[in-house]
Symmetry: C2
C-alpha cells in the first residue's frame, strides 16, 4: 500500500509560447497544447543541431508508426503463426519529402514484420537524400515499390492528386503520418493521424489524433521556450483527445 501522501496532480504540465488553435489531452487527462508549424520546425532543427539527426528520427518514427499500424491491423490476434495465410496488406502513399521518408521507413518495418507492403512513390528527377536512403533500405525487404496508380500516369501534382483520390475512394482505413496543420489544404481523409513530438492544430478530416515520441530531450524544448514534461508515460505512441 502506498503510504506516501501524493501532491495534487497538475494536469497542465506542458506550456508553450503562442499555443496553437487547439488543445488536446491524454487518456489520463494531461493537457497537450498544439503548436505552430514554425515552432515545430524550430524544435526539429535545434534537436538536429544537438545530434538528434534526421536519420535517427526517421528510424524512430518508422518503428513507432509501425507499432501503431500493427496494433490497428489486429495486434497479437492477427499476427500469430497460425494466421500466416491471412497476411494484411498495407499501401503506403509517400511524397518526395521528409514525411514520405517517414512513410518509407514505416513500410520497411511493416514488411520486416511480414505485412504485404506496396509503397507508392512518384518518380522525381531529384530526390531528397533522406528519401533515397530510405528507398534503398526498403528495397532490401519483400515490399513492392510502384510509381503509378493503375497505369494512369499523369505528371507532378496531378499524380499526387490521383493517388489521394485513389486513397479516398478505397475502402481501406487511412493512417496519416505527420499531417500538415488545419488550413493547409487536405488531400486525404484519414481515420487516424500520427503527430510527432507535439501536435499541430489538426483538421476534422485528420480523424483520431495520436502522438508519437521522437526522443527530443528536455533541453531542446527549453531552448524554444517550451516547458515540457513527458506526457507519454511508459508508451511511445498515445491517443490524444480534443480538450
Amino acid at each position: 500500500e502506498n503510504i506516501l501522501e501524493a501532491k495534487p496532480v497538475v494536469y497542465r504540465q506542458i506550456t508553450v509560447p503562442q499555443p496553437g488553435a487547439k488543445e488536446y489531452c491524454t487518456d489520463s487527462g494531461l493537457v497537450v497544447p498544439s503548436i505552430s508549424y514554425e515552432l515545430h520546425q524550430r524544435l526539429l532543427s535545434i534537436a538536429e543541431r544537438h545530434g538528434l539527426s534526421l536519420e535517427r528520427r526517421l528510424e524512430m518514427t518508422g518503428v513507432c508508426a509501425t507499432q501503431m499500424a500493427l496494433t490497428l491491423l489486429g495486434g497479437p490476434n492477427r499476427f500469430t503463426p497460425k494466421n500466416l495465410h491471412q497476411r494484411p496488406t498495407v499501401a503506403l502513399l509517400c511524397g518526395p519529402h521528409v514525411q514520405g521518408a517517414q512513410g518509407i521507413s514505416c513500410g520497411r518495418h511493416l514488411a520486416n514484420h511480414e505485412v504485404e507492403v506496396v509503397m507508392f512513390l512518384p518518380n522525381f528527377v531529384k530526390m531528397l537524400d533522406c528519401v533515397t536512403s530510405e528507398v534503398t533500405l526498403f528495397n532490401k525487404t519483400s515490399g513492392k515499390q510502384v510509381s503509378s496508380i493503375k497505369e494512369h500516369i499523369p505528371d507532378g501534382p496531378a499524380l499526387v492528386r490521383a493517388a489521394a483520390d485513389w486513397a479516398n475512394q478505397n475502402r481501406a482505413p487511412v493512417l496519416s503520418l505527420d499531417p500538415p496543420g488545419s488550413g493547409q489544404g487536405q488531400a486525404v481523409e484519414a481515420k487516424w493521424s500520427l503527430s510527432l513530438c507535439l501536435p499541430l492544430s489538426l483538421a476534422e478530416g485528420d480523424g483520431r489524433v495520436y502522438l508519437c515520441d521522437i526522443g527530443i530531450p528536455r533541453q531542446v524544448f527549453k531552448e524554444v521556450g517550451i516547458k515540457y514534461i513527458c506526457p507519454f508515460g511508459c508508451k511511445f505512441v498515445i491517443p490524444l483527445h480534443s480538450a
Copy 2:
C-alpha cells in the same frame, strides 16, 4: 468466422548455417536458433553496408530497450500523472563500446520519460565516435553522468570490475543489454537479458532472455545464409524460452 482452411503451422521458420549451442522458442512456439558471435557481427556489417547505419540501430535499440525497461518498472500502473512522486531510478553501467552506446541511448529515452537516470561511463582518453555522440545527446536530458563508483576510482579494467561488483551487490534487478555469448566470461549477474536480432547462446547467469527487432531486412539475412521469417509478430521485443 474464419472459413479459410489453414495450412499446418511450421514452427521452424528460421534456419541458420552452423547453429549455436542453444535453441530458443517464442511464446507461440516458433523456434529461434542461436548464432555465433562471428555470424552476428557479419549480419550487422552487411546491414550497415546496405544503409542500416549504427546510428539507426542505436536509436532503435535504445527505444526498444526503453519500452522493455518501462514495462519491467511497472508499466502503465507506475507511469501515471498521479504517481510522479515515485519516479523510478535506473543506473546504467556503460562500457566504452557499441554496447555502451546502446545503453546510453536507452538512458536518454528513459530520462525523456521522466525516469531518474544515473549513467556510469568510465573516463577514457579515446572514445568511439558512437559513444561520444550518444553522450552528447544524453547530456541534453536531466540524466546524470558519473565516472566513479562512490569516489573509489581505480583505473581501466579495475574500475569496470568495481562497477560490476557494485551491480552484483546491489539489490536492484539487472537488465543486460546485448550481452556476450556464454563462455566469454561474465561480469554481471542479470535478471533479464536483451539480445538483438538473433540471440547468441547465452549463459545461465544472463537470466531470462528477450529478443529485440533491430530492423534488419530479409535480404541481409539471406546474404549470410539465414532463412528468416520474422518471429516478432506485432511486437519489437519478445521473450524467448530455452527450447
